[in-house]
């Protein structure tokens, strides 16, 4: 009850939250100059005050709206650590008479308090979020939130478990149906730390969600995509428990607040995280460019950069005695089909030039290590061509496998060779090395690759923008599938495939090898060619034909995650290209 001689004032509720004391009440004063709270020996001045109209108080005092103060107040005082039931005293200095009121702190865990406040929330909420950034009000908003459900009418949303992208952010997806455009913010926050990680509604890219659209037929207008994907860049997202204590808070324009506790994310390794992210969109969906550029691309980039990498434990087995001082080292990664080793050795064995070549197989697939080594042993006894096998207990990808072998290779010249590449004629390895040595300023020499039917598979790469892939430049193989006509001539090109790539070992090392940031293996060859070109080296495609038994395991259509790895790599490649790399042709 108001005291006599001072302005009538009353505290309806007071509670200590993470950001201080929140006090709600009313005072018959038009303008408040300052607000102070005393609790025992602790004092503090309010850092936030919001006034709102209290019809009940006005009725009581016979005050008409329009010419009187707003009456209601919400203040926050940065006083921390007061336990429930602490006695507090509030003092207002106004331009008229001062006002004071006393109260006992409520227990925020008790629903009485929240319910009491919530009854007034329709009046307080809009005033608060109009006047202040809701991010600064999170403890109170969280307290005032109600679980998302039917009471929110047409507005509904759901946030799926978030993926921590390295230590640099969170990738979140879900859906939100908001036909009346009620949503103002959709915050993602951590209940353990109180951190607000971001506002999904200002970050997200909307995506189709057929299942959600079906459930909300009649509510959604055609063309409204209810899904969303959002990458929230923020630090510390790998900290223990962050993704286990996330909740989403939807702040509606009318001040209502809907909360959803987000299920903890499953613990995923980097590759599984990448796969998860890639499953969140389809190649054919609208806004693909934005999704890649602002969400999926940086998210995967962060996951991949932050993957914990120990130095692989290399095991090396030498079969036969390798040539003493090889000029050429041929590096062949094996993944999955290790039987290609049999077929290569069968043709290498009768090529006299191979006796002077260091041949290194790299088993980049722990699943095949045992049988591949056993086969290597058997084939060594049969073909008698010296070779080495490097194995390790992980899958490093195409770039990693080549880089590992390049570090131990002794040749002045490296030839990176796919296991399904078969020479047409003996002497191919010195022929390629000779091209590298003799062509003007040659840094990298690729070669003509043929399909098993003799048609052309590769005679150099060329970048072309693919409209379907948001205009990203992809590598095409000009002339692919056409009848091959031997010219015997090397041509300067912008890039060559690493299915058969000849390069000075020194240059390979200067360039830091193939970039292992490309996932699984794609585009790192083209990337390396552009990096070599940037240093003034020239790239050639020689006409030393080889068969490349590439199976059409993936086409440019399709929605497998591997297919989308290619799309990601393509995006990553595009970010690293020099400005003039893509011709308008």
């Amino acid at each position: 009850m108001p005291s006599a001689g001072v302005a009538p004032c009353c505290i309806d509720a007071a509670v200590s939250l993470a950001d201080g004391l929140w006090i709600v009440g009313w005072v018959l004063a038009a303008d408040i100059k300052s607000t102070t709270v005393t609790a025992g020996t602790t004092r503090g001045d309010a850092d936030l005050i919001v006034r709102y109209w209290r019809q009940d108080v006005a009725d009581h005092f016979g005050i008409e709206r329009g010419n009187r103060p707003l009456l209601g107040f919400v203040v926050r005082v940065p006083v921390h650590g007061l336990p429930p039931k602490s006695a507090i005293e509030l003092q207002f200095q106004t331009s008229e008479s001062p006002a004071t009121a006393k109260a006992e702190l409520a227990d925020p865990a008790q629903t009485d308090f929240a319910n009491g406040l919530r009854a007034q929330w329709p009046l307080i909420g809009p005033a608060l979020i109009r006047a202040h950034d809701p991010v600064g009000l999170m403890p109170l908003l969280r307290l005032m939130a109600t679980p998302i459900g039917d009471r929110f009418g047409k507005f509904q949303f759901f946030v799926e478990p978030a993926i921590s992208t390295g230590n640099e952010g969170l990738l979140v997806n879900g859906w939100a149906v908001d036909p009346d455009r009620e949503l103002r913010h959709l915050y993602l926050s951590c209940s353990r730390t109180g951190r607000v990680l971001g506002d999904l509604a200002t970050h997200w890219a909307r995506t189709p969600r057929a299942d959600v659209s079906e459930r909300h037929v009649g509510t959604l207008t055609v063309g409204q995509d209810p899904g969303f994907i959002a990458w929230l860049p923020c630090s510390g997202t790998s900290d223990t428990g962050v993704t286990d204590h996330l909740y989403a808070l939807a702040v509606l324009k009318d001040g209502r607040i809907a909360r959803q506790d987000i299920k903890p994310s499953p613990a995923l390794g980097p590759m599984a995280s990448v796969q998860h992210v890639l499953r969140l969109f389809t190649e054919s969906q609208p806004r693909l460019g934005d999704i890649l550029e602002s969400h999926v691309g940086p998210a995967i980039d962060a996951i991949w950069r932050h993957r914990t990498r120990s130095e692989p434990r290399l095991a090396r087995q030498d079969f036969g005695s390798a040539p003493a001082a090889p000029d050429i080292s041929v590096i062949v990664p094996l993944y999955g089909r290790y039987d290609f080793m049999r077929h290569q050795l069968a043709v290498f064995a009768d090529d006299p030039a191979m006796e002077r070549v260091e041949l290194i197989y790299v088993i980049d697939d722990p699943n095949i290590t045992t049988p591949a080594l056993q086969l290597a042993e058997e084939l060594s006894g049969l073909f008698r061509l010296p070779f080495s096998v490097i194995s390790y207990n992980e899958n490093l990808g195409f770039a990693g496998a080549n880089n590992v072998a390049a570090r131990i290779a002794r040749g002045r010249v490296l030839i990176l060779l796919n296991s399904d590449v078969m020479p047409v004629k003996p002497g191919w390895a010195p022929a390629l090395a000779e091209q590298l040595a003799s062509l003007p300023e040659a840094g990298i020499v690729g070669t003509t690759l043929l399909y098993e039917d003799g048609s052309l598979q590769h005679a150099g790469l060329q970048l072309r923008r693919l409209a379907r892939w948001a205009g990203l430049p992809v590598n095409i193989h000009p002339g692919k599938g056409l009848s091959y006509v031997s010219t015997g001539q090397s041509r300067q090109v912008s890039g060559v495939t690493a299915a058969c790539m000849t390069i000075h070992r020194k240059l390979y090392q200067e360039l830091g090898g193939l970039d292992e940031g490309f996932i699984l293996g794609d585009f790192e060859d083209s990337d390396m060619c552009f990096r070599a070109s940037a240093k003034g080296h020239k790239i050639y495609c020689a006409d030393v034909p080889m068969y490349h038994l590439e199976r059409q395991s993936q086409s440019l259509a399709g929605d497998s995650w591997k297919h989308k790895v290619t799309l990601y790599n393509c995006w990553r490649h595009s970010k690293r290209l020099p400005a003039n790399a893509v011709t308008s042709k």
Binding site: R342, H343, A346, V347, A349, D350, E378, L379, G381, L382, F383, R384, D420, M422, E452, D453, Y547, L549, R551
Partner: protein
């Protein structure tokens, strides 16, 4: 110094009586009969119970006759156990020190054996007798397409092979050809029993001068006197089919041709079918053969299996031998045996069979696979006066194993000089 020849075969006739097994064994025996030769036999056997532990070798109770625990896949003919080749077989080679290693097959033993010989004995002469189109065609080496048509893809073009048998990719067929070729490149001299077979392999990629056409001769038996009279004194002509009853051997064509003969001619023609093995093939094929036999006239008789040594006795009871195969054939043993017993042969007009039977001289050709054409030919046999006698008198004795061994010995010597 005796020439040491190691004959390698994919089976031993004690356990498997295929034409190639018999040819290899016959050669081994014939070489050993000669003063200037010492022949060894290494025959694969697929009978697990015969094998000893710790060695791929076992023996037959005769001198220099050994068995080898073979086993390969059926695509590359790559040995299941390479160390049996690179260690045990190599050891055997060092032990025997043959001048010549004559392969009669690479299936079952493992195609890599060719390289093990080259690795172990760089100066040994490697000879390989080609028995059918197995290196060219993965469809049992028949060059008969899955749609029933005759295959002329002797280049083993991977696209055509894939179209015929889509279970494997064109890349697989490419690798298969490349792999087999890599081993065939180590062979000094190939032997083809027919010119036709040689031509197919030349198209496939073997140099023409590396293939000698030498028939697999048979152990000689006195050639029955060409009397000019038929076995049956009755007016009816007796025709016979000898051999494995497989879909490729064309027994169905023969049975259809007989059913198409006019009623009057049925009385003049009799057909005896000798052979078995149909149970190895799909039920549908077996029941078709059964239906044909059930609906056939009484002049068609299924006489069941026969042992090779009974052939002479059985063929003596007939006038004509019919080889109705619907695939090319290479050099069918039955034609040689019919010649040995002075029986004119009626066969298809393609491949190795057409090469071994001279149309109008010692036998007759008909359009391969056509029952109507065969029926017409049969009617000609029944009604053309003196046709049988004329053809019979044109029959020449088939090459004997002695002749074959002579030819091979010359080939070994020639190659040895060059080595």
């Amino acid at each position: 110094m005796k020439r040491k020849v190691l004959v390698v075969a994919h089976g031993h006739p004690d356990f498997s009586k295929g034409g190639a097994e018999i040819a290899a064994y016959t050669l081994f025996q014939e070489l050993n009969r000669r003063d200037d030769c010492e022949a060894w036999l290494l025959a694969a056997n697929g009978i697990a119970g015969l094998q000893h532990t710790g060695t791929p070798f076992s023996a037959r109770p005769r001198e220099r006759e050994m068995l080898f625990a073979g086993g390969t896949d059926y695509f590359l003919f790559s040995a299941n156990n390479l160390s049996h080749l690179t260690q045990d077989f190599a050891e055997l080679l060092r032990h025997i020190q043959p001048d010549v290693v004559h392969f009669h097959h690479y299936a079952v033993v493992g195609i890599e054996m060719l390289r093990v010989v080259r690795n172990t004995l760089p100066n040994a002469v490697i000879v390989l007798t080609l028995h059918e189109f197995l290196a060219i065609c993965n469809r049992n080496g028949q060059m008969l397409k899955s749609n029933g048509s005759l295959c002329r893809n002797a280049e083993a073009d991977p696209a055509e092979c894939h179209a015929c048998m889509p279970g494997r990719s064109p890349q697989d067929y490419f690798l298969r050809r490349q792999y087999i070729r890599s081993f065939f490149a180590l062979v000094d001299q190939f032997v083809a029993p027919s010119q036709f077979l040689k031509e197919r392999y030349v198209t496939w990629g073997l140099p023409s001068d590396r293939i000698s056409v030498i028939e697999n001769g048979q152990p000689s038996q006195p050639m029955p006197h060409a009397s000019g009279t038929r076995a049956s004194t009755a007016t009816a002509h007796r025709f016979a089919f000898f051999g494995q009853i497989t879909p490729y051997k064309g027994l169905e064509v023969l049975l259809q041709a007989f059913s198409q003969l006019p009623k009057a001619d049925q009385k003049l023609a009799r057909l005896d079918i000798f052979g078995g093995g149909q149970e190895m093939f799909e039920k549908e094929f077996q029941s078709r053969i059964e239906q044909h036999l059930e609906s056939a006239h009484r002049n068609v008789q299924y006489r069941g299996r026969y042992a090779p040594e009974d052939f002479g006795r059985l063929v003596a009871t007939v006038d004509w031998v019919i080889v109705p195969s619907i695939w090319w054939e290479n050099s069918p043993l039955v034609i040689q045996e019919a010649r040995l017993h002075s029986k004119p042969v009626i066969c298809g007009d393609i491949g190795g069979m057409a090469e071994k039977v001279r149309h109008g001289h010692d036998g007759l050709h008909f359009q391969t696979g056509s029952a109507a054409a065969l029926a017409e030919t049969l009617q000609r046999c029944l009604h053309e006066p003196d046709l049988w006698g004329r053809l019979q008198s044109g029959i020449q004795a088939p090459p004997s194993i002695e002749m074959t061994a002579d030819d091979l010995n010359r080939l070994y010597a020639r190659r040895h000089q060059r080595a």
